[in-house]
Every structure is written in C-alpha cells, then in structure tokens.
Amino acid sequence: MRRRGFLIGGASALLLGSGAVWLQRGAPWRGAETASAVRARLRLGDGAYAAIRALQGTDPIAGAAMAAMQGVADPAIAIENSLIERLGLARELDIAAPAFDRRLAAAIGEDFRQARLCAGSDWVLSQTECEVAALRLMVFGAQPSVTNEEGYAQGQIAEIIDWGQRETQQDTPFNVQGDGHSGIWIKTRGAPPWVRFEIGGERVGTVHTGDLITTGLYGDLQGRILSTPGAYEVALVDEMARIRQPFGVFTVRPRAARLVRADGSVSKVFCPVQGWGPSAAVAGQPANPQPNGNEAFWIQTACAPPSVRAFLGETELRTTVSLDLVTASVPRSRIARPGEWMLELRDRESGEVLQVGRYAVVAGPAAPVAEAAH
C-alpha cells in the first residue's frame, strides 16, 4: 500500500515552489491583506473558485505567472480579468464549477494549439494554466504538499522462475563479466521493465531482456559484499508502485583455508583438493564418459578462481569452475593410446599451478585375431 505523508500548509509550505518564493519577496497584498480579503475583491463567483480551489499540485507552476505580474498593482485582479476574458465568462461570472472546469480545459487546450505558452517556465505549460495556478495560490494559499515516504509494501511483483548465482565464497567474484562485475541472472514472468534488483538493501543496475533480468554486484558494492561473509536478501523492487518482493538470499561463505604447499608456502588462489577422478582409464574407453564420448574429470576443492584452467599434460581442457567443483573434459581421441599425464589446474591470472594427480591410460585387452582380421 502506498503511504503518503502530508506537510501541512503554512509558513513552511510557502517556501515550496517558485510561486511561494515570489510571495516571500513581497506581493503587494502580502501581510496587509488576507487571502479572504483578496477573494472579496474578485468578480468570479463561488462556483469558479470552488473549481479553482479543487486544483491539485499547481503551486510549483504558479511562480511564472506571478513573476510576470511584477509591477502590476493588483495581480489577482489582473489574472482574474485575463481568465474571464480567455474563458469567455464576462457574462457568466457565477458559472458552476463543472462548467468552469470544462471552459478551463478548453482554454488550456487552445493555448497549446495557439502556442500561447507560459513564459519563464521550464515545463511547457499553457498561459492560462499558469495563471489559474497563480490565482489559486493568491486566493487560497499554499496547498499541502504530498510527499512520498520511503516505505515499501511487501508484495508480489513478478513470478520468479529461477535465479543464480546464489552463493560464493569470501573474496571470490563469480560469473565475472567484461567490466569486472559479478553477474546475477533472474528468470521471471511478468516483471515490468522498470523493476530493479536489490541485494542487501542496495539497489543495483538492472537490465531487462524479455523475461530475463541481468544484474549483479558492481564496483564498491561488489567489494563490500564479497569481503563480508553472510546472507544478503535479494529482492525485486517496483519503485513506481512502491512494492518490494524478496525472493531469496545470496550467501557469501567464509573464505576456505588455502592450500599449504610442501615447502610451507600458502597458495593465494587454491584450496586443497578434497577428491578427484577418474585417475585411470582403458585406452579409447573413457572412465567417466560424457554424452559426446569425451572423458570428463571432476576435481572437488573448496576454492578455485574463475580464471583457472585444467591441463592434461600440456593439453588445455575445456574447464568449468563452480563454487566447490572444477570439471574438465578431454576428447576421446586424446586417450586413444596408453600413457600417463599429470592433471593440473593452472590459474591464468596469478600463474599458480596446482598438481591434482596423475591420470593413466592403460592398454586395453588384445582383440581376438579373427576379429582384428576384419
């Protein structure tokens, strides 16, 4: 539910809007004459002024018409006369409010068509529009200002179908994009294009491509979140409807202990290998065959940077790095013959190498002679 706060009119309200500023500088009647006294000198009847009083949000545009009245002895009367003429009310001063509204709308439309615009306003406004705003301010004083408070209702903005990445490890960027930010994606259904992503209470750049939202951790925010283990609520936010939809938690796990090498030095990028495989295969027969026939390795480790690549001997393998696991595949043709190679992880950025273990390809059983002859 949208909440509104009201700033009650009065001296503080007079500071709002350029019209009020003009009033402060000294309208002829200010201080010497009350608004009701101004009203008493004007010709239009109560119907017209009921309509004028009902106008909302007009104070900010009153200033331009009032500024144009500098030096005029009685600006309220001058503006009213102008309105009476433009709305054709000389013989209908007691016009009813609904009829006045229609005349006013028609006059404003005609102003726009005739390029009769309100001078001195950065908004493109009709002259009549500015004048009636000024008259309203002079006769009825400043309006209560409606301001939006920072509150957001919790509610449904869109269906969240899936999202990721949902966790990382301390100081470990993920899904790193060209500009260095860590990318997060959200598949939604029905998210309006102005909806933004929020993580840990901070709104971040959000790109909508159909039902896919791409966003992430940028700049300082990335540094702050990745350096601080914890659970960060993620949400969609509709700033126009003031609705917030939490849909999950992004987790930054504490940094895992780094690998201590045999010489006592500590790796900057690698954690100990907790398990890996396969370590052996028969020539031409992958031990962990993939649908395309390739051999696939898995290496379980609590950390590995996105820039890591697996190598079998000097052959770079197609490598996928996730939070706790590195996977890599090697073409079946590479293991067609017996041999033994070291499986390594090499980090392209730091240059560090982690030897995982030796992978052996052994000769298969000899084929029967008769079969081989065919």
Partner: protein
Amino acid sequence: MIVDFTRNPQALPGACDVCVIGGGPAGIVTALELARRRPDWHIVLLEGGGTTMPPPAELDPYVGTSAGKAPYPLSGSRLRFLGGTSNHWGGWCRPFDVEDFGPRPWLARSEWPLERADLEPWYAKAAKWCEIGSTDYAEDSLSPELADGILAVADSALLCNKYFRFSPPTRFGRRYQEALEQTPNLKVLLRANAVGLDWLGERVDAVRIASTQGAAGRLKAGRVVVALGGIETTRFLLVNARQAPPGSGLGSAMLGRCFADHFGLTPAEALLPAQLQYARVEHPTGTVMPVLALRADAQRALATPDFCITLVPQPEAGSLEPAYASNAALGFRGGQHWRYRMQLICEPPANPDNRITLLDEVDRLGVPRLRLDWHVAPDDFRASVASLREVGAELGALGLGRLRTFDEAEFAQGAPSVGFHHLGSARMADNAEGGVVDARCRVHGIENLHVASSATFPACGFSNPTLTIVALAVRLAAHLTGVSGSQAEEPS
C-alpha cells in the same frame, strides 16, 4: 575451410577471385554470399584474430589517440576475432527510415546516393542472416497489440511510435563457423592481418598479409572487399591512399572525415500516463522495443536530425508531481500518471571536423596508428531538444501530459553516451569529391576495390547499424557476382 595463418602460412593461396578483409558480420556475410552465388570463384576471408577473445597483445592494432573535449572510447566495442563486434552485440535491429536516406536540405551532407527502396530486398535477406523472425516494423501493425504500454499518439502531428526488433543476437563467427568451414570454395585465414595493398595501374593487384607472430605473405585478388569495421576500414584505406590512383575515392578529401556515432542525451522529463513500457516487450511476432520518434513531416518542419525517445519511469519527487495530472480541469484525460525521464538517441550530423587521421607511430604490424578527433557540439542536438518544446505543447493540447526540458548546462555538461556505432568516415557519395565509395560500395575510380562497412554510411538516423551493414553486404555480393538475390541460397 578455416586455417590459422600463423601456424600454416603455406595455406595462403597465391591468388583468389575475391579477398574479403575482416571477419565480422559484413565480412562473413559477404564471403559466404559470394561463395554461394559463384561456386566457380575462390574466395578468401582474412581475419586478424582467432576464433576466441584474443589476448591483449593481439589488440595492439586498435591502440590509437582520441582527441577532443571528451575522448572517444576507442577500445570500446572493437573485437578482433571471428565474428567481430557481433561477439558482444546486443542484437538491436531496425532498418533506417525512408527519410534517413534524404534528401534533407536542413542537414548538410546527409544524403545517400540511393533510396530506402533500393535496400528493401536486401533488408529482408539481412533479417535472415541476423535471425530476426519478422521484417514488420510498421506502427500500424505493431502498436495495436501494445496499446496499453505505449503513448497514444495516433492524433499527434509530431510523434509516432517506432519499433526495434532483436537478433538472438547472432554471433556471426560461431553461428556461421560451420558454413565457413564447409563451403568448398571459401578459405578463412585466421590471424591473417591485411597490412597493405599492392597496385597494378589503377587496380588493386594483391593484399599484403602479416601475422603478429611474424608470418607474412601476399595474396593476388581479382577483387578486394574491405570489411574491417567502421574505424579499421578507414584506417586501412588511409594507409593505402598514398599509392592509390589519383582522383580515386582514396584520394577524396572526405576519406577519414565525418566520423559519427549515435549519441545519447537526457534533456527532458515528462508527466505522462502510467505504466508506459518503452523497453523490450513481447509481441506475437517476436520481441520488439517501442520508441517515440518525430514523424517525417515533423522532422522536416522542425529541421531536426532524426532521433528517438525512450521513457524511463522516475520514482523520485520532482517539481511537478503525478497528482497534477489528476486535474481534468487542466485538460488531462484522467488515469494515473508518472514522471518519466526522456532519453534521446540522436542522429549525429555529418561533421567533417570529426575525423580519423594517421599518426607517424606504427603498431606491431607496422601499420600507422590512428588519431580520432571527435566531439558532440551543442548545435548537434539543439534542434532536437528545441523540438521537444513543440512536442510538449502538443502533449498538452492532446491532454496526454506535460513536458519539461532541462537546462542545457545541466544535461550536456558531461560527455554524451555513445552507441559504439562507428559510422561515416568512408562515405558513400555520387563522386569522389563527396565521398569514398559509390552507391554500390565500390571505391570511386578503383574498379576492384569495395567496402562493406558502416564507415560508408553518409547518414544514419537513430537505428543501430548492423542490419543495414549486413543488407549492404548481401547487396554488394550480388553486384560483384552478377547473381541476383533469388539465385542465392539462404543463410544456413
């Protein structure tokens, strides 16, 4: 066949019928179209990079100097591997409008030597290469389905809704790699940089080729198509201008001049009906994105370049609040309103002072580096911004809303955003005085040298250039082979 020239320099043939220089969308489409239309021809496509993102050292040829009040981001949006800039393309597609081809007397040097109708069949083919499902961009057919999310401008004399469509986006290198490998009369040489042209009289005789690893060679070519992207194309032509025949397009005073890019500004806000969606939205014919634009008559009457407007909802308080639009007495039609920031994508005027020139310093291939002088001047956008005041008056007259323009010192104080669309510095014109290439993308005065690049665009509306680049590439292939569109195969 795709071969790495660095590892297999012997794979360089001695001669070919057509050498296409550059493996981006223009080069790949030109090469495949040529090879399919003329199976009897041997086509060679030279690509300076490999098939994946190159290491920084291979990007050395892109290093240059950008001068001007706000330096142009020269390294942005230039990718040196098969597929070129399509490898990070956003997929925005839209043909240029009829009026973008001119004549537009109020815009100097903005006329194409061809009409939109000349490109129509090639746009259809380009849509297939770019894998766009529909070629329908018409307001009449797209707006009704989207009426709830667009401004109702049917009664407007100034505004209309126009539409972008989207390629998946097609990564031309990956998408057509198999076709490049399997087309028998086409050879793709990777890491093969064209560093110069050899001349025989008034014709190009051969292309000199080098790799950053030291391999070098020479390829005789019956015809040469330069398709290196909007900046590298011009640099390559400038490098070869000194030996070119006098009076040719390479000697044109316009070579290197009128470099342009679409630029973005946010010069206004508006109070308009709520929930307008000037963003990617789903339409039964595919994903589209509506934008507001001036009608052709309005552009003419207000003497503006082309531009389009997107609306971004603004939740923050402003000087005129949405409640203001609840006043039926002020002419509003009713319903909830929001404030929107109005973001413009502007057509850049052709400014000869925005120019690519060569420096004395050379890159690691021995090719002179470039200098780009570029800036957006207030006169480049003042007519467009002024026209928004007219739009504001019309919005008021129609009861649609109100519009406010910002102080120029406020919205133009920083560098404008750019589209990374490298346009105009090897312009298309009727003769070598006005430009570099003719209406068929042939360099004036040089029978066998052609250009497939956005560098040839003399004007560019507000639409992203890729679709037009590809359309011109298909058209060029048809002209070179003498084989019309219907005889060519579709992309596969």
